[in-house]
């Protein structure tokens, strides 16, 4: 299909700037959402280090605990915490868009899909906390 490109060679083509994601709030929000994955990876690394320390014995585990109290690690974990919360909230809010569930001839409203997600989130968090805090 010949586009007008062949007819009008003088069309002006724009190029996106490398910093396009700073241009609009929805874009910035998007890039922050995607960057949350880096902090997810950080959490996994930390968890693996912890398991490793745990299997090596009490002395190593103490040392690891000490490392967790390092102000740099604390600061990183504070940032990570906000990012993983941001990930969770955006994830639950976007999930209904991907799921066109229909019932009674109508599409189930988004809150009825996101709602149970949030309830499950609270319940699961409580269960994990109980498991770790009970004794």
């Amino acid at each position: 299909m010949p586009g007008s490109a062949q007819v009008l060679p003088k069309m002006y083509r724009t190029r996106m700037s490398t910093y396009w994601w700073l241009g609009r709030w929805p874009y910035l929000k998007f890039i922050l959402r995607e960057l949350s994955s880096v902090f997810v990876a950080w959490f996994v690394i930390m968890t693996l280090l912890q398991i490793d320390a745990l299997r090596r014995g009490p002395a190593d585990y103490m040392e690891f605990q000490e490392w967790l109290r390092n102000p740099v690690v604390i600061a990183l974990n504070i940032i990570s915490f906000f990012f993983v919360i941001f990930h969770a909230v955006t994830w639950f809010n976007l999930a209904p868009k991907a799921m066109a569930i229909r019932a009674g001839g109508k599409r189930v409203p988004a809150v009825l899909i996101a709602g149970p997600n949030y309830i499950a989130w609270v319940a699961i968090s409580a269960a994990v906390a109980w498991l770790l805090l009970r004794g």
């Binding site: 960057l35 398991i51 745990l54 967790l68 915490f81 993983v84 969770a88 994830w91 499950a120 994990v128």
Partner: protein, 117 residues
Amino acid sequence: MSKRSNEPFLWLLFSAGGVVAAMLIPIQLFLFGLAFPLGWLDGPGYQSLLELVRHPLTRLYLFALCTLSLFHFAHRFRYTLYDGLQIKHLNELINTFCYGGAILGTAVTAYLLWIIP
């Protein structure tokens, strides 16, 4: 169907990881990364934590949590590098780094969870 890509598989891992990360990481990060080190709450002692981690179900849980989260990361970070930095031409390198990292992480996780006494 054969000519279709493996994207559905990667997307499945990405999505599963997204759910797992959203549901489980905030509370664990809060407890292990902030509340326990800062002394807001009393964490489990060495013995009881080891007991917990030793349990087969916990191992399974940790394996799923870590590996799926890593594949979630790999997928998202791959696209962030493509789009954010406009370096799509480094495609192969990025894929190797992201998915390779996730596969390596899976192996490490499996190994660690296997050798816990």
